[in-house]
């Protein structure tokens, strides 16, 4: 298994790399060297990087496959949007509102994480994976039924299960506004998310996850991943540490969701479906399980890649699928590995040293 040796130098390089990348992109943007579509992608890239770090905590560090991570992102996005929009008149500063929205998103996602985690973490392996998938779909459907509005009396929330209720059932006062309109999602959101805020969130997520990994609790979590029975026999509290990792991961996904949600004027719950969960899982697996630096690079590159392939337009998703299969075969098949080793001599030497 992986040994995740706490090497402080590597962590330092990761932080330095993120800050450097931020500075380069920031300067390039201020000089107008980025295309419109690319500068529009900056905040989503930050959100996906945080999602990848957070899912890597569940899949790579805790060792449990989650197929419903977009559900937590969704909870964070919608609670964050509601928080930011209902506080619009009270707190004029958009930066402060963004921070509050991300905190609210993280808290709500963490609560959802507890609700989901209690039943889910009792299961194992593929059964656990399918139940996270089920929860992801349930969260998506439930948010699809929400109608939320705000007026002078505070928040009004309706649950539209039968499809018979509409915005007028909120009975908003004069001057009130609707925030979430059921399946139409949240519309008229003021986009207050910024690229620097996204990078700060990435750094914060890195601090949290790396510190957790290097702490006593983190070692307990990794021991559970490597051998649950052995870990249990030396007195590690399975439920406590699994929940710790899972809820932290959910909270980070919630903050990422709030950042993502506040970057667009319209956001619908069907955006956070099974495919989004899978996209993030692909970042984590391609970046390397338990490797946060890898997750960051994979998430950034794979979010930009489809944009960069716009020229091929029709073929880009096809190309993405083929790249995915070829990379998985190339990195996991013994024959292919040997072939790559022959082609790139120094890589082979590195492999021998490692072995």
């Amino acid at each position: 298994m992986k040994t995740n040796n706490p090497s402080r130098l590597k962590d330092f390089l990761t932080f330095a790399g993120v800050i450097l990348a931020f500075l380069v992109v920031y300067i390039m943007r201020s000089r107008g060297m980025l295309t419109r579509s690319l500068s529009g992608q900056l905040v989503p890239i930050c959100a996906y990087v945080v999602m990848a770090i957070s899912l890597n905590l569940t899949v790579g560090v805790l060792g449990e496959l989650s197929l419903g991570h977009a559900g937590f992102m969704s909870v964070g996005a919608f609670s964050g949007v509601v928080a930011a929009m209902s506080l619009a008149s009270v707190i004029p500063s958009p930066v402060l509102r963004l921070v509050i929205a991300m905190v609210v998103g993280a808290i709500f996602a963490a609560i959802t994480g507890v609700i989901v985690g209690v039943p889910v973490l009792r299961l194992q392996g593929d059964y656990l994976a399918i139940v996270t998938l089920a929860f992801g779909e349930i969260i998506k459907d439930l948010i699809n039924c929400l109608i939320v509005g705000v007026d002078g009396n505070g928040l009004h929330i309706l649950f539209n299960a039968t499809g018979s209720r509409s915005v007028s059932d909120l009975h908003l006062m004069e001057g009130g506004k609707v925030i979430i309109k059921g399946a139409q999602g949240a519309t008229g959101v003021k986009a207050i998310a910024t690229f620097p805020a996204g990078v700060v969130l990435i750094l914060l997520a890195l601090v949290i996850v790396l510190n957790l990994m290097h702490s006593r609790s983190g070692r307990a979590i990794m021991a559970l991943r490597d051998n649950r029975i052995a870990a249990e026999s030396v007195g590690i509290n399975v439920t406590k540490y699994k929940m710790m990792a899972f809820v932290t991961s959910a909270a980070l996904a919630g903050a990422a969701g709030a950042l993502y949600g506040l970057n667009f004027s319209t956001i619908v719950s069907s955006k956070f479906n099974f495919n989004t969960s899978i996209t993030v899982l692909v970042f984590v697996v391609l970046g390397g399980l338990g490797n946060m630096t890898g997750s960051i690079i994979a998430a950034a590159v794979l979010t930009i890649l489809p944009e960069a392939l716009r020229g091929f337009d029709k073929y880009r998703m096809l190309a993405y699928a083929i790249v995915l299969i070829v990379v998985m075969l190339g990195t996991n098949n013994p024959q292919a590995k040997a072939l790559v080793g022959k082609l790139i001599p120094h890589k082979k030497k590195g492999a021998e040293e490692g072995a």
């Binding site: 039943p119 399918i130 139940v131 349930i138 029975i229 998703m317 995915l324 998985m328």
Partner: protein, 292 residues
Amino acid sequence: MEFLSYLISGISLGSVYAIIALGYTMVYGIAKMLNFAHGDVIMVGGYISLIAMMNAGLSPWVAILLAMVVCTLLGVLIEGLAYRPLRAAPSLAVLITAIGVSYLLQNSALLIFGANPKSYTPIITGTVHLFDGQLSISYVSLLTVAACIVIMVALTLFTSKSKMGKAMRAVSEDKAAAQLMGINVNSTISLTFAIGSALAAIAGVLLCSSYSTLMPTTGSMPGIKAFTAAVFGGIGSIPGAFLGGLILGIVESLSKAYISSQLANSIVFAALIVVLLVKPTGLLGKYIPEKV
């Protein structure tokens, strides 16, 4: 009477889920992998039969047969090219590869057939009227249920009586021991994929016949639900897939009718969660104790 008609449509939907779930469960049982591309093989089956009927003017039965042949070849090809090289790889790598194959199939279909839904003429039309016309059942529903029962019986006989079926069970029990007994593990796994994909083709035709539309993403949601059904019944168990498919189909149909059409999927997934909490290996799944 209304209830009975919802129940029948639930059984018919459940039969389709059961046929798809059989493919999932057999592949999982033998290769221990979640084959996420299975749902998209259904879609391919739908398109092949549509072309055979519309463009080539073949009769529905020939179209089904053609769809089965193409899907079988496709299933064996996918297994041989994408999954076989990863037999010793970690399960997550195989899972991501399966997702890649699923994207590949969906996007190829998107390029070839376009994103617009195509209308699908049911392979048989007409309805039976019972109780003075109070209850009407379409022939498609009857055919679906009948097909499901025939497939279920045939598969049970195949796995318990035939030599190849016994080989399949042996491989799913213990690959290394099966190999020592002279069973060709690779060809047995290919056979499993072939059977699963042929079933997916049948499911595709039946599914499109009851919904009358077809698009590149047609297979994904039924695929996920059938996967849920397979886990619900106990993944790896053939009667479990049948039972799980039927129950989920009925739950979905009844909750659409009486509770909320928007939340029908959620109720199906909630049923899965409840069952797994009470019985962590599904309704008919075997409990395998963990050894230290």
